[in-house]
Subunit: 141 residues, 2 copies
Amino acid sequence: MRDGGRNDERQAAIVAKLKSAGLRTTRPRVALAHLLFGQGDRHITAEALHSEARAAGLSISQATIYNTLNQFHEAGILREVQVEKARSYFDTNISDHHHFYVEGEGRLIDIEQNAISVDKLPSSPEGFRVTGVDVVIRLTK
Amino acid sequence: MRDGGRNDERQAAIVAKLKSAGLRTTRPRVALAHLLFGQGDRHITAEALHSEARAAGLSISQATIYNTLNQFHEAGILREVQVEKARSYFDTNISDHHHFYVEGEGRLIDIEQNAISVDKLPSSPEGFRVTGVDVVIRLTK
DNA sequence: ATTTATTTTAGAATTATTCTAAAATACTTG
DNA sequence: CAAGTATTTTAGAATAATTCTAAAATAAAT
C-alpha cells in the first residue's frame, strides 16, 4: 500500500519534531503528535484528545495523555490556555485591572489598568457580547 | 465597650453594600464581607477565606464560602481571576496570540496577535521574568 | 545482547468545586 | 408580634480534572 512516500514524509516530520524538542519517539507520543499536529492548528482538552485516540483505535491511558500534553507543553511545541474551572482567586478590587501571576508561589499581583493598554480589541463574533477581558502575565524567577 | 460608633459605621457600610447588591444580610454573608472588604483590596482563594473565617472563630461551612463568593461575584462586588489548575485547552498554535472564550459552550476562538495590542507592558518585579502574556476575552450571547 | 534510563500504565489519590436535601434563618403579611 | 413563605446555610456526598504510585514495558546506549 505505498503512496509515493507522502505518509512517510509526514511520519518523518513528526519524528523530527519530537526529536528536536528533546523527546524520545515512543509509540504513544508519535501517535498523539499525529492527532495534534496532523491537521491545522487546534485547541483540544485532554479528555477530547483521549476520545480521539480511542476513536482512532489507539489504546493509550489517561495518565499518558496528560503526561504527553504536559511534556509537549514544556518542550514548547504546545501552548496551554486555561479558562474554566480554575482555582479561583477572588479579588476585592473590581475596577478594570490585570494581574501578574507568580508561578510556583501561586501569588497574584495587581497591575493597574492603565499600566497595560489592551487597545484595539477585536470585534466579537456576531451575537456575542464581551463579559470580560482578562490579562494574566505569568512570571518566574 | 462603645467606641463612638466607628464599628457601627463599618457595620452599616457593609450592610448597605450587601443590600444595594440585592443580597440579604445574613450572618455568614456579613461576616465574610467584613473579612473581604474590611481592609484594603485583596486577592483570596475560597480555601484561604475559609481558614480566615475559622481563625476568626466563625463557623461557616465550605459550601457557604463558595456560595457566598459566587454570589458576591455575580452581584458584581467581587472579581474572579482564574489562573492555576484550570481545565486546560492545549493549543497547537504556539505563536503569540489570544483567545475568545465562549462561556457556556466552552469553546475557544483564536484572536491573532495583532488584532489586540497589549503594548505598554508593565515592568515585572525585580528578579522575575515574564513567561507568558495571556489575554482571554470572555463572551456570552 | 545486555544494561540502564525513560515511559507507560492501571488504578488510586488529590484537589477544587458543586450538589443534595434537610434544618435554620430572614423577610413579609395579617 | 405571629405565622407563613422564600431564601440560606449546612454537612456530607458527589463530581471532575488532574496527578501520583509503583510496577511492567520499551527505547537508547554500551
